[in-house]
């Protein structure tokens, strides 16, 4: 089915464009650098798509780990039964109203997701009695004095000492060098947000990848604090983003990534 996106020259999109240039997040910026037309469909035309099974697995795992982190913050222990109950509740409730294309594999995906949660709780490097500095915390940094918009974001977890943790699920084992590059926008954004929010420098980052291979595994990738070069690169990306959005430069970026793009039909229909 093709959902035809409205063209971008109408006055009704003007306010939306203003909003998008007043605040920028790592997600928006990453999508912008990946494909400007996809950015348009998602953030300007606001075409809603149901979550893919992989995304839904990731979101549910993320939600249960958030509950686990919040429990530690309150010095509570989330036992195995409670974890399963939280998982079941999130899995069932969060997909209400969504038409996820399970293709008959919901039970299999559900088993995979629960397996990832159980694996994480078994192998996590985070001690059960470690109290977080922040969990799923919303942060913003006003970059207005640099002529840039406000940077916004949600950080999954901040461990004591200022170690910023991001949880990820993936189908492939991450390569430490590649993942540092692939997540640079997100990591740099989180570093800046943390510094602005606390007045301190982060001690580093940890990417906790739950990998959905035949035998699922947890891969923890440590990364150092962000550098000035990374800051400057991010600022230049934000600057480019603002200029591009303002001139409605929503050009497509055809490539191999389009194979899994949910907006492929809208993209092909647009001229």
């Amino acid at each position: 089915m093709i959902a035809v996106a409205p063209q971008s020259n109408g006055s009704d999109t003007k306010t939306r464009l203003e909003v998008l240039t007043e605040e920028v997040s790592a997600s928006r910026l990453s999508l912008w650098t990946s494909c400007r037309l996809k950015f348009y469909f998602r953030y300007v035309a606001q075409i809603e798509k149901p979550a893919t099974p992989a995304l839904y697995v990731g979101k549910t795992v993320h939600a249960v780990l958030q509950a686990w982190n919040l429990a530690r913050w309150k010095s509570q222990v989330l036992d195995a039964d409670t974890v399963k109950a939280v998982f079941t509740q999130r899995w069932d409730e969060d997909q209400a109203g969504q038409e996820i294309a399970w293709d008959g594999d919901e039970q299999k995906e559900r088993t995979t997701a629960l397996g990832l949660v159980e694996l994480y709780l078994k192998e996590s490097p985070i001690p059960q009695d470690e109290k977080p500095m922040a969990v799923e915390v919303r942060l913003e940094a006003d970059l207005g004095k640099h002529g840039l918009p406000t940077l916004i974001g949600i950080v999954d977890l901040v461990r004591p000492g200022g170690k910023i943790v991001d949880f990820k699920t993936s189908a492939q084992t991450p390569n430490p060098e590649r993942v540092a590059h692939q997540t640079e926008i997100q990591i740099t954004s989180y570093g800046l947000l943390y510094r602005d929010g606390t007045g301190q420098t982060e001690s580093g980052f940890e990417l906790h990848h739950l990998v959905k291979v035949k035998v699922p595994k947890l891969v923890v990738t440590p990364l150092p604090p962000i550098t000035e070069n990374q800051e400057t690169r991010l600022f230049r990306q934000i600057e480019s983003y603002v200029e591009g959005v303002e001139r409605e430069d929503f050009v497509p970026s055809p490539g191999i990534q389009c194979l899994s793009c949910q907006f492929i039909n809208e993209c092909r229909a647009r001229h």
Partner: protein, 165 residues
Amino acid sequence: MAIIIEANYSKKIGLPAYSSHAYSVTIRTEVSDLGQVERESAQLYALLQESVDRNIQEVGFTPEGNGNGSSAPRATNGHASQPNGDQWACSDKQRDLILKIVDEHHLEKNAVEALAKEMFEKPVKALNKMEASGLIENLLETYGPKKTNGGNGNGGRSYQRGARR
């Protein structure tokens, strides 16, 4: 037939503290025949470039910074300064939101102070922006409208904090 040449020369340069400034000059002129275009264009280019280069050296105001191209909010490895008296360490917007939640739900200030102590081991006014955000999220989870699926991702809360993803 009049032949109009419109020439523009623009330059943008980077400055310390992640600043930049740009200047451009545009000129329109008329030549009588096509044979003059190449020479006229070369003269215009030289003229415009010289003009822009001369003027762009005056950089005017630049924001404060450390002069090495970095501009992030400066951070330290020490502790952030603590507020005194009635000062709040978080942002004004966060302070207003905390007070609004306390007021609208008739919360005991002592209870909110106790929550801040439990979560961060410091009083509400001493919470930095990240900690205040954590406190607000906790208050919203407890006292705000329940989250709903779909929609704009704000969970239908009356306390608008904006989309973050």
